[in-house]
C-alpha cells in the first residue's frame, strides 16, 4: 500500500519530469488555421446600423416639414456677419476635432486591449 509520502513524491517527480514546452511558433501555426471571424455577424451589425440611420433620417425629414429647415438655415447663415461666420466656423472645427480625438482614443484603447495577447 502506498504511503501518502510515496504518492506525493512520485507525483512531484512526475510534475518535475514534464518540461515546459517552448511555444516556438506553435500558437502562430494554430492561429493561421482558424477560420476568419464572423463575417455574418458583421453584416448583420452593418445592416442594423444602416436601417436605423435610414429610419432616423426619414423621421427627421418628416418631422422637419420636408427638410424646409435646411434651406432656412442656409439663409440664416448667409445673413450672418463676418464675426458670426468666424464663430460658426470655429465651433464647427472644434466639433470635428473633438470627434477625431474620440475616434483616435477609441482606436488606441482597442490597441491597448490587444497588447496582453501579444505578451
Amino acid at each position: 500500500m502506498d504511503t501518502v509520502n510515496d504518492i506525493d513524491e512520485l507525483d512531484r517527480q512526475l510534475r518535475d519530469a514534464a518540461p515546459y514546452i517552448d511555444d516556438a511558433g506553435f500558437t502562430r501555426r494554430v492561429m493561421a488555421t482558424l477560420p476568419s471571424p464572423g463575417v455574418r455577424r458583421q453584416r448583420v451589425r452593418a445592416a442594423i446600423l444602416l436601417s436605423i440611420t435610414v429610419l432616423a433620417s426619414l423621421l427627421a425629414y418628416v418631422l422637419s416639414g420636408g427638410g424646409r429647415f435646411v434651406g432656412e438655415s442656409v439663409m440664416r447663415i448667409g445673413q450672418l456677419g463676418p464675426l458670426g461666420l468666424l464663430y460658426g466656423a470655429a465651433a464647427f472645427a472644434l466639433l470635428i476635432t473633438g470627434l477625431g480625438v474620440v475616434a483616435f482614443l477609441s482606436r488606441d484603447r482597442d490597441l491597448r486591449v490587444g497588447v496582453w495577447s501579444r505578451n
Binding site: L10, A17, D23, M31, T33
Partner: protein
C-alpha cells in the same frame, strides 16, 4: 491584471476575438502538447499535429464550453478525443497489442537521469494507465475531472491511477537496483 481563462473565453464568444483565443493557446499549449507527446510515445511531430487539431476543434466548438469545468479540463478532453480518433484511424487503439508495443521499448536506451527514467517508465505503461497517471499525477486533475476527460467511470480512473503508480514504482525500483 491578467485575464482569467473564463474572461478570454467570454471574449471569444461575444466578440469572436481571435487574440483572446491566441492567449488561451499560448497558456495551454505546453500542457496539451506534453500530454499528447506522452500519449503518442514521444512522437513529437504527430503530437504537435494532434495538438493543433485539438485547438482548432476547441475554437470551432467553444460555444459548447459552458464553464462547468476548468477550460484546461475541457481542452484535455478534446485533445484526448483527437488522439483516440487518430489512433482509431490507424488501428492502434482498437485491437491494440500492448505486448508488441512494450517489446518495442528498448531498455538499453534508458538514460541514467531520473527524469529520463521516469518518462521512459511512464511510456511503458498501458495506454489507459498511462493516460490516467498523466492526467491525475502530472497535470494535476482530480479523479473526477479525469473521469470526465476520459469518459470512463470514476472508479476505473482510480484503479488505473493506482495500478499505474504501482507499476511505475516497480519499474523505477528495478532500474535502480541494476
Amino acid at each position: 491584471m491578467e485575464l482569467t481563462d473564463a474572461d478570454l473565453v467570454a471574449r471569444v464568444l461575444v466578440d469572436e476575438d481571435q487574440h483572446a483565443f491566441g492567449e488561451l493557446v499560448r497558456r495551454h499549449q505546453s500542457s496539451v502538447r506534453g500530454l499528447l507527446r506522452q500519449l503518442t510515445r514521444t512522437d513529437f511531430a504527430l503530437a504537435d499535429d494532434l495538438a493543433q487539431e485539438a485547438f482548432l476543434k476547441a475554437y470551432k466548438h467553444i460555444r459548447s464550453f459552458r464553464g462547468e469545468a476548468r477550460f484546461s479540463t475541457w481542452l484535455y478532453r478534446i485533445a484526448y478525443n483527437v488522439f483516440r480518433e487518430d489512433a482509431r484511424r490507424k488501428k492502434e487503439l482498437v485491437g491494440i497489442d500492448e505486448d508488441v508495443l512494450q517489446a518495442e521499448q528498448d531498455p538499453s536506451t534508458v538514460d541514467p537521469g531520473l527524469r529520463q527514467d521516469l518518462m521512459h517508465a511512464l511510456s511503458l505503461l498501458p495506454l489507459h494507465e498511462r493516460t490516467a497517471v498523466l492526467l491525475c499525477c502530472q497535470s494535476g486533475l482530480s479523479h473526477d475531472e479525469a473521469s470526465r476527460v476520459l469518459d470512463i467511470p470514476l472508479g476505473t480512473v482510480k484503479t488505473n491511477v493506482l495500478r499505474g503508480r504501482e507499476k511505475l514504482k516497480k519499474t523505477l525500483a528495478a532500474w535502480a537496483t541494476n
